[in-house]
Symmetry: C2
Subunit: 658 residues, 2 copies
């Protein structure tokens, strides 16, 4: 069946979309239900709760002591004790069986009812037992002293908690205190979640060629949960008119809100519009938003129920959910937008938008006294982009860029954002071991973007620690020349260790590789490392030397290497490619070759050091990191790890003169 | 049975307590379990999750367009289009059935696999269909253009998410993307919760004399839930040695941690110590903390399981839970202490501690640009204190006070703290109606502490709006003389309405009350209002006038009124007391008398105005409040409400010259 392409002829802003929505549906809770106190946490009160008992419900003692007539002990002092006859005892929970007459006292426990006749309680600390039933009182007490009067806290008829209140442990306590065991709360809106696309497969099932796993069902499910909805994943729909129509009809009957993702682009497979327009009135009310990403977002209303069609790319889907769907789900749940779901942060550099469209830019948040919002690059389908982003910022449609250092609102994907320690730069399996140890105590985020990327991130204040092994071909020195070249003033170098780099090949060396030149000359599939990584720098230096020797350009050599353009971001990824036959040869560490059972041809022993931000140097996580580098335990680990050995003065802080 | 009193001879700090604990037990998760992605939100990863598929799993198109050989379209421009033959089509989720040869193109959808032979994709926007199977390309594309390369995002072997990570929607998305459907997380620690005390009764059951409802079971239950534990309420225990021993034995067998509250004070009914010491070794390891409140806190370890005995008063219990138990529950759940569970705030005035003991002071948080932490008074058993407090601050043991304006850490009871609008002061049923309306849009906290308390709260910057009706007997003027007298510079007066105050009595007037003097002279039970309330001021003025007339002191008159010392905080509470026979007579509003079906003897028409903080005047909630005062809808409500009428210029802002 040939499908006509739909053009987005009427893009609207998110605010205009909301205006359209409220013309058709009231954004308020859809019903109420009673829940027990144990299930009330985080729910929203649907009524004012009025006290039906007093608190305290009777005059009670606030201390352990003796219930007395205050006039009897007037004038009592250390040197003028007053004797009273103890005529009984009242425990908490007991009904007093005796009254206090003049000259008498009744022993009383905290929380016990005041016996008739008594009008004050003397604390036990100010009394002394003379014999079994006589006490001396050393201090006077005023009328009403140490008595908590009936209803002095809450009186019958008082409102204990108001409709609309989000129920916290304290509110639960207050409800319990007035005897409420079940409480009326707003119903959670039932939200159906579905993904569309022939390419989608459910996680946990095998992946055949051309297919990818469904991500949006799960990010949407958990986001709806966080927003007080009751989500259900309906499943994955193929791009089939009949199937989509049938499933949406079912969902419209059984849920309050429907969220789909995918199948909304104006390209091939664009069926959602037609189905929604046919299912009921008014049908599609928003045909596209002037936001980027998220232009193909659809909003429809069918029989008073809202249907959102979000983009298919995971990051786009999540950003559009947060900006457009989240506030609506929360209103239907009776929740206000949480203040803590938006935080203020500062931009480390200028961020560009797109003219005429509101642009959402995913950001990672770094704590540096203030919060810094670092834009996270990569394409919208990227998982790395998803895991690295804490939320997103908005560049308004009439703004071409946001200035460096300007304050922006960050719309959080989740309140669990940021880390105690931000590590970025070169990948090293031993560094990962150190970080795993620190993770017992701190939250640690690690991003493998190569040595050079790490150095620049530290310079921009984007991270705390970067691992580096950058060889300067002119001086044959590691790391320091690069710190000078890039003029990194806000960091120190901390001495690390040596690691042995080399060529890794399958056991038995089937292609008979003997050195780097064989990678060029033999018909083998190479796997490269990412640009900016120290290993890539090493590979390119080797290529340059060979090019010079052969009198050709380095570019010529690179073109001759099958796989030069295929980049792995970690040593593990290189080893895995060689191990499982996706490549014949790569460059990695001796240690990695041992782990993966591969052969290793040494190329060079390199220096792996740490560039550490001055801002972070005195923070606990960094201090513990450096301490661990210097520890006997770590030196032993290094000495036992194939291809590794400590540098002299490992853990020493070196200030580089620029 | 006579119980010996235990003396707290070895008080320790919370840090010393923790040191003792870790000598016996390791504070780490107690096991792991697999959960589905739908149940993973908020759980903690118990393993590093390693990608077992690449992302993307194949070279795929990032746009809708045509897969081509980039060399074929080199040099293509608007005025130099290049024609290609369209030899097929590939949709997302399909395996390409055709390859691209020189001069050919294959139509391709976003997300579809790149057919063999093609090395780039031209966006559909840069092409034009000439006829059924011929296109013109207007723009060149570089090698690899618009292709997302296999594994460029995540390569097999890469760590997707680290052990110890709290699972957010994004992490769930990343796990789904690599096909993970079930994930290993730390088990939640099973926490048994029990309350002890003969006076305790379960909410939802009737309350007999001398009993109070169990509060702590429910605040602890919900706090443990928030902290990642799996709580269960075991029930209420009487102060019985056998029963406590039996229940604790059971709980020690079936739970990881036990939290009890009550029965820990060194007074009567102090059984917990003995039982804990007998149940196993080492038994009680902490016999008391040098904190206030919370001195009688017990910590025991029996067969490697932790038992906490917390104080019985709800606020003390919750504060000690938060400071001592919470971090331990979180560690056992694999969670770090949330950064957002402590916030910085500023003190509005000096806050005193107690020498030698660490003092916890409950505070309410008010947003005024910065957060302000207002100490919340009242006794530790108070529900009002519980609901008003957002958290608590700590005055160190070696500090006699914390200075005004100093920055303090506030340990939050819950992350849902503070309000959009803080209203404090005189109680008025019509004001409650206005606030109920605002609650549709804002969170509103209302505290009835009387007119004078409200005025002082505004002066201290503690609230946004205070309702006042304070009569100055000398000038016979309302409110303004008090603003002058207390020199309130940081606020304006907003004109409100008249309300009629009078004596309220049961239908039929059984005691034949005709005026205020009858309250003094007849043998009737009066119910008073709280000190500082406008109604109390009115009552005291009436008493003074009568005293003057009779030539006696006002104090003499007060002593003659049965119930003068019993204070209700709201009009509702007064009416409820008269209605249900807890008092014979009170002073309240005509409107209230009508609601409760009581008789009304007019005393005075008074002026009820609003004192509004200058800081809040331009904030949305206050703007809407004033707008509503001025609205036709509200004027009509006033005119229909018995005893109410609008003042001229209602809603006008009056700046008082001091």
């Amino acid at each position: 069946m040939e499908i006509k392409r739909k053009i987005f002829h009427k893009l609207v802003t998110p605010e205009e979309a909301l205006e359209k929505i409220v013309r058709y549906v009231r954004l308020k809770p859809l019903g109420v239900e009673k829940v027990s106190l144990e299930r009330a946490l985080g729910r929203v009160l649907a009524e004012n709760v009025v006290a039906k008992v007093n608190s305290p419900p009777f005059d009670r003692s606030t201390v352990d002591g003796y219930a007395v007539r205050s006039i009897d002990v007037a004038g009592a002092r250390e040197n003028n004790p007053i004797r009273l006859k103890v005529v009984g005892k009242v425990e908490a929970g007991e009904i007093p069986k005796i009254s206090v007459e003049s000259g008498e006292a009744v022993e009383i426990a905290t929380g016990a009812p005041i016996p008739p006749g008594a009008d004050a309680v003397v604390m036990v600390e100010f009394t002394r037992k003379v014999c079994e039933n006589i006490i001396e009182v050393f201090k006077s007490v005023s009328l009403g002293g140490n008595i908590s009067q009936t209803a002095s806290d809450v009186m019958i008829g008082e409102v204990i908690a108001y409709k609309g209140t989000v129920i916290t442990p304290q509110i639960i306590g207050a409800l319990a205190a007035v005897g409420v065991s079940r409480v009326l709360v707003f119903k959670k809106p039932k939200v159906a979640i579905l993904s569309t696309g022939n390419e989608l497969v459910k996680p946990g099932t095998p992946l055949s060629y051309g297919k990818i796993y469904d991500v949006n069902s799960y990010t949407l499910y958990s986001s709806v949960l966080e927003d007080g909805g009751d989500p259900e994943i309906i499943g994955i729909l193929p791009d089939s008119y009949e199937k989509i129509k049938e499933t949406l009809s079912y969902a419209l009957k059984n849920y309050d809100v429907i969220i789909t993702s995918g199948s909304t682009s104006a390209g091939i497979g664009d069926l959602m519009y037609r189905v929604l327009d046919e299912l009921g009135s008014p049908g599609v009310i928003v045909h596209g938003l002037n936001v980027k990403p998220g232009k193909p977002t659809i909003i429809a209303i069918i029989n008073n129920k809202l249907v959102f069609g979000l983009p298919g790319y995971p990051v786009s889907c999540l950003m559009n959910y947060n900006l457009i769907v989240k506030p609506i789900i929360r209103k239907l749940a009776g929740l206000r937008t949480k203040k803590t779901s938006v935080v203020k942060a500062v931009l480390p550099f200028r961020v560009f938008g797109e003219k005429g469209r509101r642009t959402f830019v995913p950001v990672a948040l770094i704590r540096r006294g203030k919060l810094i919002a670092f834009p996270v690059g990569g394409d919208s389908g990227s998982i790395a982009r998803l895991t690295r982003s804490d939320g997103f910022i908005v560049v308004p449609e009439n703004t071409s860029f946001l200035e460096e250092n300007s304050e922006v609102n960050v719309y959080l994907f989740s309140e669990n954002y940021g880390s105690d320690l931000e590590v970025i730069g070169s990948h090293c399996p031993v560094l990962e071991k150190i970080l795993d140890k620190l993770r017992n105590k701190f939250s640690v985020r690690m991003l493998n973007i190569g040595s050079l990327g790490g150095l620049l991130a530290i310079k921009r204040g984007e991270a705390d620690i970067a691992g580096l092994h950058l060889l300067d071909p002119e001086t044959a020195q590691y790391n320091i020349p690069f710190i000078r070249k890039y003029n990194v003033k806000n960091a120190v170098l901390v001495k690390g260790y040596f690691r042995e780099q080399g060529i890794i090949i399958p056991k038995g060396n089937p292609h008979k590789i003997r050195g780097f030149e064989d990678i060029i000359d033999k018909n083998v599939r190479f796997i490269n490392r990412n640009k900016g990584s120290g290993t890539r720098v090493l590979i390119d230096i080797l290529i340059s030397k060979i090019a010079e020797k052969r009198g050709v350009s380095a570019e010529d050599i690179k073109r001759r290497i099958d796989g030069y353009w295929i980049e792995a971001k970690t040593h593990f990824a290189v080893a895995s490619a060689v191990k499982y036959g996706r490549a014949d040869v790569g460059v990695s560490l001796r240690f990695i070759a041992e782990i993966y059972g591969l052969e290793f041809i040494p190329l060079r022993e390199e220096e792996y050091d740490f560039l550490i931000s001055l801002d972070a140097l005195n923070e606990e996580p960094v201090k513990e990191f450096i301490e661990y580098l210097r520890s006997r335990e770590f030196i032993e680990i290094l000495n036992k790890t194939p291809g590794y050995r400590p540098k002299d003065g490992i853990g020493e802080i070196v200030r580089i003169n620029l």
